[in-house]
């Protein structure tokens, strides 16, 4: 899907979900530290 525009399309989706995943990872780390 997306032909010549694959970089723009998948560049958008991959960075978005990577950033959301990073937020969750950092939040869970903060949660563990807050409980310690």
């Amino acid at each position: 899907m997306s032909g010549d525009y694959a970089f723009y399309l998948w560049g958008s989706y991959s960075v978005t979900f990577l950033l959301l995943l990073l937020e969750v990872v950092f939040l869970l780390k903060r949660k563990r530290e807050a409980k310690a």
């Binding site: 899907m1 723009y8 399309l9 958008s12 960075v15 978005t16 969750v24 949660k31 807050a34």
Partner: protein
């Protein structure tokens, strides 16, 4: 519902803990459904081809960036007016996710703009005001981090959040007030949809997914803040 009972951080803490997993599960399910409709079911755009599918994350992220700021400024104003501890904590908990969605809106908009406009960036009113929104979020986070006393940090942050709220109508109406390269609103509550039903469904499912995600991470973060501040 005992609203004032839950306004206390100590009583809100367990409630937030019980609600967060449900919102996280709803976010995951809505996201799967939204991605399926947006990437598989919805047809290609007649003019833009497949690259238009960036809108399924760009538009909901841009909506969330503004909506979260309004809610954050609302909590901040409430805390400033009534001196409630939870309000400042909620404002602090919302800011990182608001900044994240603003960055996502700018990033995805830039990647959509290159093949459709021929440029990653242009200093038009919509893009510039959205960039200012990112700076407002970062300024709010930095200001709070720079002040040791949490209650003073809440009050200082609240002032910045309230003053910065003037930027939200500027972002929203920028495409009306000025002649921008950015197109007008894609979806309006006062107009009939101008896109195919499957496209609109995918867009709304992703917007709901981002909304549920925001509530889930905010509830987890506010629990961290309550623990860090009040033990």
């Amino acid at each position: 519902m005992k609203w004032f009972w839950y306004a206390s951080p100590q009583t809100f803490y367990p409630l937030a803990g019980r609600m967060a997993p449900w919102f996280a599960a709803a976010a995951a399910l809505l996201c799967i459904a939204g991605l399926y409709v947006g990437l598989v079911v919805a047809p290609s755009d007649a003019q833009q081809g497949e690259v238009y599918r960036v809108i399924y994350i760009h538009v909901p992220a841009a909506w969330m960036s503004m909506f979260i700021y309004v809610v954050m400024a609302g909590w901040a104003a409430f805390g400033l007016a009534f001196n409630t501890r939870l309000s400042g904590m909620m404002a602090s908990a919302l800011a990182p996710t608001g900044a994240l969605f603003t960055a996502i809106a700018l990033w995805t908009g830039s990647l959509w703009g290159r093949p459709t406009w021929g440029t990653y960036w242009v200093w038009d009113a919509r893009l510039t005001s959205e960039l200012i929104l990112l700076f407002l979020y970062l300024g709010f986070i930095a200001l709070q981090a720079a002040i040791d006393d949490p209650r003073r940090a809440d009050r200082a942050g609240a002032l910045l959040a309230i003053v910065g709220a003037v930027n939200i109508p500027i972002i929203h109406y920028s495409v009306v007030w000025w002649n921008t390269l950015h197109q007008g609103a894609s979806v309006s509550v006062t107009r009939a949809p101008t896109m195919a039903a499957q496209m609109l469904t995918g867009l709304l499912l992703m917007a709901l997914a981002f909304w549920m995600y925001t509530i889930a991470v905010t509830l987890v973060r506010v629990r961290c803040i309550i623990r860090e501040r009040e033990g």
